[in-house]
């Protein structure tokens, strides 16, 4: 029981590390996912191809492999960044593929006529997507995007294997100090629960505010 009280700062650092990874990677995933979803429905063929390749490659690569590729691969091309930044990049890009597909399914729920009406009024592709289609798609993608970000929070544990400070990685320090491994994991699990339940609460609130009224 005193694992937590004795090592509160270790747990705290790990918890904050995971929160940081989750927040930064979420922002990156949302931005990239939004961009890729726009590409995939764009009238320009090359953009559609780019979006499709992006999703296919990242969605079908095991995340651990992607971490290896980013953390060991990019430095070979002269790109040397802190491991934490690499971890955010890997997590963010990986999750963006799932966000993209969630957004795209949302776009498909918006009746075709909405985009046609926007275009018939002289709006550009960007305007009709940004002002008419996506705001309506957004309402129906709140739940799947929430699930995807919860998965991201849990996937961030892989970064611990690459010596980035995060919650799961704290168990190594503590087990070396001889603490009971079971209790260590209980507290770690509770830490993840706090983060994922916070994401759930956020998305429930978003859904109440913006969700499709029926």
């Amino acid at each position: 029981m005193n694992v937590l009280t004795d090592n509160f700062s270790t747990f705290g650092d790990g918890f904050l590390g995971t929160v940081e990874l989750t927040v930064y990677a979420s922002v990156l995933a949302l931005v990239l996912g939004f961009l890729m979803a726009s590409f995939r429905v764009a009238p320009v063929g090359s953009l559609r191809v780019f979006g499709t390749v992006w999703v296919t490659v990242l969605r079908n690569t095991p995340l651990t492999l992607l971490f290896f590729a980013v953390l060991l691969g990019l430095p070979r091309f002269g790109l040397v960044l802190p491991f934490k930044v690499f971890a955010v990049l890997a997590l963010g890009c990986y999750t963006s593929a799932f966000i993209c597909e969630a957004l795209r399914s949302g776009i498909n729920t918006v009746p075709r006529g909405q985009g046609e009406a926007a275009r018939s009024l002289g709006m550009s592709f960007g305007q009709s997507l940004g002002l008419v289609v996506l705001p309506q798609a957004f309402r129906s993608v709140i739940p799947p995007v929430g699930s995807t970000l919860i998965a991201l929070a849990k996937n961030s544990a892989i970064a611990g294997a690459f010596s980035v400070t995060e919650l799961l990685g704290t168990y190594r320090t503590l087990s070396e100090l001889g603490y009971n491994i079971v209790w260590t994991f209980v507290w770690i699990a509770l830490g993840y629960l706090i983060i994922t339940l916070a994401i759930s609460a956020l998305f429930n609130a978003l859904e109440r505010k913006w969700g499709v009224a029926r």
Binding site: P111, G113, A117, R119, S120, L121, M123, S124, L131, R139
Partner: protein, 247 residues
């Protein structure tokens, strides 16, 4: 024709796969003219209407607006669409915007008007279609007839040179059809150039300058309503009229 042509289609062809939906269509609509397009379902009349502002692409032929051919894509096409209003069968009001925002949105984003000016003009137009009191409501709170009148106001807000109507009353309850037709009649009276795809023969008779009868992707007849309804030339038109005018 004495009047200036505003919309000109020459030898327009379109296919859906094997299906030849528009076959060598030639049609000229003059400034201020009201052309009603009628015909059995599947005759290509909606496709024709949608091709005029390039919601449907065509395989061959030319479509000109005010003497300029339709641009393929991009900014030029968007600019042209702003000049040609479109009213849809299913209204297509923006579901997440209020009535007022629906009418103002494109004025602000496309015409770059200030919000206050746009809203002022929107209220005038809503007043004109008899719906100023509904401005703060969302489309789903209105009846079909009211939604369609808002859609007309939204198209008018862009000050278009012409308006296209794609079966504007086909999704409406019978009692709501007249309120929409009345607004359209008023527009025709005010000299708006209109292409109207419809099944409302009463409207065709009273408001149209010309009736275009289409069947199987071709224009079969193109005449004044009086001539067309009292003395159709083709068997296809006689058959069509006998079916719809019997009741």
């Amino acid at each position: 024709m004495a009047v200036d042509p505003l919309i000109e289609l020459r030898d327009v062809n379109k296919y859906y796969g094997e299906l030849h939906v528009l076959q060598d269509i030639n049609l000229t609509v003059g400034k201020g003219e009201v052309v009603v397009v009628i015909g059995p379902s599947g005759s290509g009349k909606s496709t024709l209407c949608r091709a005029i502002n390039r919601l449907e692409t065509i395989e061959s032929g030319t479509i000109e607006l005010d003497g300029r051919p339709l641009p393929e894509e991009g900014k030029a096409l968007a600019k042209l669409r702003a000049e040609v209003g479109m009213v849809f069968q299913s209204f297509n009001l923006f579901a997440h915007k209020t009535v007022l925002q629906n009418v103002s949105l494109a004025q602000i984003k496309v015409r770059k008007r200030k919000r206050d000016d746009a809203d002022k003009r929107s209220m005038e137009l809503l007043d004109r279609v008899g719906l100023a009191s509904q401005a703060p409501k969302f489309p789903a709170q209105l009846s079909g007839g009211q939604q369609q009148r808002v859609a007309i106001a939204r198209a008018l807000a862009m000050e278009p040179k012409a308006l296209l109507f794609d079966e504007p009353t086909s999704a409406l309850d019978p009692e709501m059809i007249n309120e929409v037709l009345e607004v359209m009649r008023q527009l025709a009276h005010d000299g708006m150039t209109m292409v109207v795809v419809t099944h409302e023969m009463g409207f065709a008779r009273s408001a149209a300058n010309r009736v275009v009868f289409m069947a199987d992707g071709r224009v079969i007849e193109d005449r004044t309503p009086e001539e067309f309804f009292t003395n159709p030339r083709s068997d296809r038109a006689k058959d069509f009229l006998s079916k719809i005018l019997k009741h």
